[in-house]
Point group: C2
């Protein structure tokens, strides 16, 4: 069994084009080519934290993959990253451990940012200005990964903590983005045609009336029952709602909240893999409002872990 | 993070008395002192195999634990053990990885054998003869672990493969047991007042009429929906039915089969931790038939992993 540390993983990542791999994963998921059981979850009260266990396999591939990712929100007090985790690969034919990727949640961060990039490319209109809620790692990565698909470098950020907003502004300036500070989520929504929500909010940040025609929203902060960023009516109002996994979004994320509100059924929800495979057209008009609800699917973990490990084996030869 | 290989784990195990630790785990589980979500499961068709992910934590302890254990039944063709797996410990306050115990399922085998020992000690009458179904590793370990609690060294074995039965006989002779080969499960049941079922059978092996008064059965082979060793009516007929976890036994194991048959509700099922804590008396008369349905609970894994790792840290000082 091989153990790959984070430095090695970072080194391998430099040579990889992961977008097609992640897209293939979503397609496989939506077409029934993969086995992905419900997410395992542990929650902790004191100190507060949660652990997600995502696992499964693509039928006929070499490995099955188990990903463990946790968020403990008070870690930063002690100088420890909030996100922790690793990915484990096992032989699909024997169950033997193949590799442990000690990525400290890095691969989760990347595959999540890539899913955001895929959604922005598929569903947003020409991006005029990028609105971001939250000032954490995903608020950065989601924007950085957009550089590959748009020339837009204008961002409006909104977060609860002004210091963190300013820090975000400085950091993103270094990677080529001009960041303005938003006064409210509503203001951000009034000026941006792509909105990315990355907070762990338990109360919604946007109301139905805040959303302009032609907007695309990628909602990726809410991934656990209890978290919510979009207010009542937004999912119902949207012309197109895309879920990374319909089964998961019934249980968690914005779609789950809308179902709880009684606002929507699952009938008009499209799965991302079905758009990527061409079975569904995606956005059809410039004026449509589109929402992508991303809760994170194990196929993303399976794909990124397998690609990193296969590349490691390839280099060893 | 520490990685403990199997040799080191075996070495640490020599100095440990695990029975009180495992008992404490069952009590904590039944008294609500632990968080144990439903088992995660992956199944494979070709080659056939299954993976169980058991995880959770005891509230207020140091670690949360994730255990991965698989069985791929064709591995032995290739000289690879059917059972594979590892246990992972993480800090309960930060989510940081603490240790990986590369035990290749050894700790699962041991904690399972200990649960059997606990049940035999609590529920069996004076053991006259031990009946065993199956010829694999648990068929051996369950009996070996009985040596600590009984002077009985008489075993009758039944399995589908006569070569394996003879191999079992020879191997168990070396560790002090006299083994006779049974012609049928029924014959075994007619001669033994303790029966341990350890097969992966999908069809039941014993019928209601096969079970004599005063018998205790520890049924531990059936741990996945679809597996079954005890026939219709046995659970209903038993005077005392003990589950390691009532929640789990509703979904898998012999009790789940009995519920499916319409034979029983959960009303008369007692949880092992409630007997161990003294809340339930356990066996009350010599003539009673008792059944323990063991599906394997994450608290066993949490307890054995924590004990091994704490002992490792203690020795390092």
């Amino acid at each position: 069994m091989y153990i790959l540390n984070k430095e090695r993983i970072i080194n391998i990542l430099k040579g990889l084009d992961l977008v097609p791999i992640i897209e293939k994963g979503f397609i496989s998921y939506s077409n029934g080519g993969s086995i992905v059981p419900p997410i395992g979850e542990l929650t902790f009260d004191d100190p507060p934290g949660d652990v997600h266990i995502k696992y499964g396999y693509i039928i006929g591939d070499s490995y099955y993959v188990i990903k463990i990712a946790s968020g403990f929100w008070e870690n930063e007090k002690y100088g420890i990253p909030n996100g922790q985790g690793m990915m484990l690969l096992f032989d699909q034919r024997t169950g033997q451990p193949e590799a442990i990727l000690m990525d400290d949640a890095l691969l989760t961060d990347i595959r999540t940012a890539i899913a955001g990039q895929i959604c922005a490319q598929r569903f947003a209109n020409d991006i005029e200005r990028i609105g971001v809620f939250g000032t954490g790692l995903q608020a950065r990565l989601q924007v950085e990964y957009l550089a590959a698909i748009t020339n837009c470098r204008q961002v409006i950020i909104w977060g609860r903590n002004e210091n963190k907003m300013n820090l975000y502004k400085d950091d993103m300036h270094k990677v080529g983005f001009e960041v303005a500070l938003g006064n409210s989520p509503k203001e951000v929504a009034s000026k941006c045609n792509l909105i990315i929500t990355t907070t762990a909010s338990k109360e919604y940040l946007l109301t139905e009336d805040d959303i302009l025609q032609g907007t695309h929203i990628t909602a990726m902060g809410s991934d656990t029952p209890g978290k919510r960023e979009l207010g009542p009516g937004i999912i119902e109002k949207a012309d197109l709602v895309v879920a990374d996994s319909i089964a998961q979004c019934k249980e968690r994320g914005e779609i789950a909240c809308a179902i709880k509100d009684g606002d929507t059924s699952l009938d008009h929800i499209v799965e991302l893999g079905h758009v990527l495979s061409g079975e569904h057209p995606g956005r059809e008009h410039h004026s449509q409002i589109t929402v992508a609800d991303l809760t994170g699917v194990a196929v993303q973990d399976i794909q990124i872990a397998s690609e990193v490990y296969n590349n490691y084996l390839e280099r060893k030869k």
